[in-house]
């Protein structure tokens, strides 16, 4: 056994410094995922013709295949067929792939949250003369968002962890840096241990923030009955 603790400690700040890139991928993918999921969830909620089957097919495809395959498919596969994708950066491909992957699950969370809002809330809104869209915006979505909150936190943690796959597309984030340092020094254990710790602490911090937000919303006399 040769474990070089001082090497692990020395490299920790370097690996830690790539947290920015990891978070950037996760946050951007999260924002796009929420927006995209919202759109496809509304398509499914109102059963909009033509779009609904298309959306369902997409969900099926992206749930039925591994994220890594999806990322390779978008980054390497599409570039071969369509010239416009040649200029797609590894970072952009990662964000697109992770958005499509996450959304295929997130839409189900959102649908559950929407359906958890009692029918009476919709009817009360319609009864006072609001349009379907106004009811959705002022009554249903805020209540559904409150219900979906905890799940969204978990989705974000998944994004942070899954962003480690970006290194396979040449994006330099925590995992990429750990791999590079590990390969060049042959101190794999030390480097991956550092990555291990960074990811773990990140997840913990997000969970703590998530709980704080929950408590704040509950104090505000939130919507959950």
């Amino acid at each position: 056994m040769n474990f070089d603790l001082s090497y692990a400690i020395r490299q920790f700040p370097t690996i830690l410094s790539y947290t920015g890139m990891t978070l950037r991928i996760a946050i951007v993918a999260m924002v796009f995922s929420v927006l995209f999921s919202l759109i496809i969830t509304i398509v499914r909620y109102y059963r909009i013709p033509v779009l609904t089957p298309v959306v369902n097919l997409y969900i099926d495809l992206f749930r039925g295949t591994p994220l890594l395959v999806q990322l390779f498919f978008i980054y390497y596969g599409l570039a071969q067929l369509f010239p416009i994708f040649v200029n797609l950066s590894g970072y952009a491909a990662t964000v697109i792939g992770m958005t499509l992957n996450t959304s295929s699950y997130m839409t189900e969370d959102m649908r559950g949250a929407l359906e958890s809002v009692p029918r009476g809330q919709v009817e009360a809104g319609l009864s006072v003369g609001m349009t379907d869209l106004q009811v959705m915006r002022h009554v249903i979505l805020p209540q559904a968002a409150r219900v979906a909150m905890p799940v969204m936190g978990n989705e974000f943690i998944s994004l942070v962890k899954n962003s480690s796959m970006a290194f396979t597309l040449g994006v330099r984030e925590i995992m990429a840096e750990a791999s590079l340092l590990g390969t060049s020094s042959s101190n794999y254990f030390e480097c991956y241990l550092d990555a291990f710790i960074v990811y773990f602490v990140l997840s913990k911090i997000i969970t703590i923030l998530q709980n704080a937000v929950e408590r704040y919303l509950n104090r505000r006399g939130g919507a959950v009955r």
Partner: protein, 249 residues
């Protein structure tokens, strides 16, 4: 104010409203009574277009819609002609009391926020809930919630208010406060009201007319004293006996 002709509503093979004809004068208060499952709620929901009728014509305050020919725009317009008070209140859970009242004023009627708030607070004062303006619905009693729901409807100044068993989800001791608010509105404003209720005493006291519904049809319609003291139809007699309204017979 309300003119209904040949109103039919079917749910699949079930005919729930079987050709309703009904005229309600401006300011008239009509109590709708009848056994469970006879289409009382469905009638109100059709008037508010929460259910689309299968056939017939509904006219409220000059706007007439014929089943099957309504446009989305007309339906929205029709919903603005009346407001519904639900059995289980249905306050917006994500809004506090004040916002529950101002939301539709701002979003539907485009009343500027400040004016909406002023008017809402005036209404809260009338229904005795000004001190609750910042509370969320889940923290209120049933009676308080229903009064807010009535306030939400009052704020829109629609000429027609539809009440679907406004007190039947309430503890008996909270029924009075809600009924007196309804009574107050009918006296102070000239609101046309359709009230589905199982509170016979209340129906007798507040209504100008009682509508007795059974099996999706209007079986009897008459002045309260007439209906309760000397019902004409056998069905109505049985129904009143069931409610043991002996003192009215």
């Amino acid at each position: 104010m309300i003119h209904v002709q040949g109103l039919r509503k079917e749910f699949g093979p079930n005919t729930v409203l079987d050709g309703i004809n009904l005229d309600v004068a401006p300011g008239e208060v009509v109590a709708v009574v009848g056994p469970s499952g006879t289409g009382k709620s469905t009638l109100l929901r059709c008037l508010n277009y929460l259910e689309a009728p299968t056939a017939g014509t509904i006219e409220i305050d000059g706007l007439a819609l014929t089943a099957g020919q309504e446009t989305r725009k007309q339906i929205y317009a029709m919903r603005q002609k009346s407001t519904m008070i639900f059995q289980n209140f249905c306050l917006f859970q994500n809004k506090n009391v004040l916002e529950n009242i101002t939301l539709a004023m701002e979003v539907v009627q485009h009343i500027p926020k400040e004016r909406a708030v002023d008017q809402a607070r005036e209404i809260l004062r009338q229904i005795g809930l000004l001190d609750k303006q910042d509370s969320y619905p889940s923290t209120l009693s049933g009676g308080q919630q229903q009064r807010v729901a009535i306030g939400r409807a009052m704020a829109l100044h629609t000429k027609v208010m539809l009440f679907d068993e406004p007190t039947s989800a309430l503890d008996p001791c909270l029924v009075g406060e809600v009924l007196s608010v309804i009574q107050q509105i009918s006296q102070e404003h000239n609101t046309t009201m359709l009230i589905v209720t199982h509170e016979m005493q209340f129906a007798h006291d507040i209504a100008n007319r009682i509508l007795f519904l059974e099996g999706g049809s209007i079986v009897e319609s008459g002045a309260p004293d007439e209906f309760f003291y000397s019902p004409k139809t056998e069905r109505a007699k049985q129904f009143l006996q069931y409610y043991s309204m002996k003192r009215y017979q």
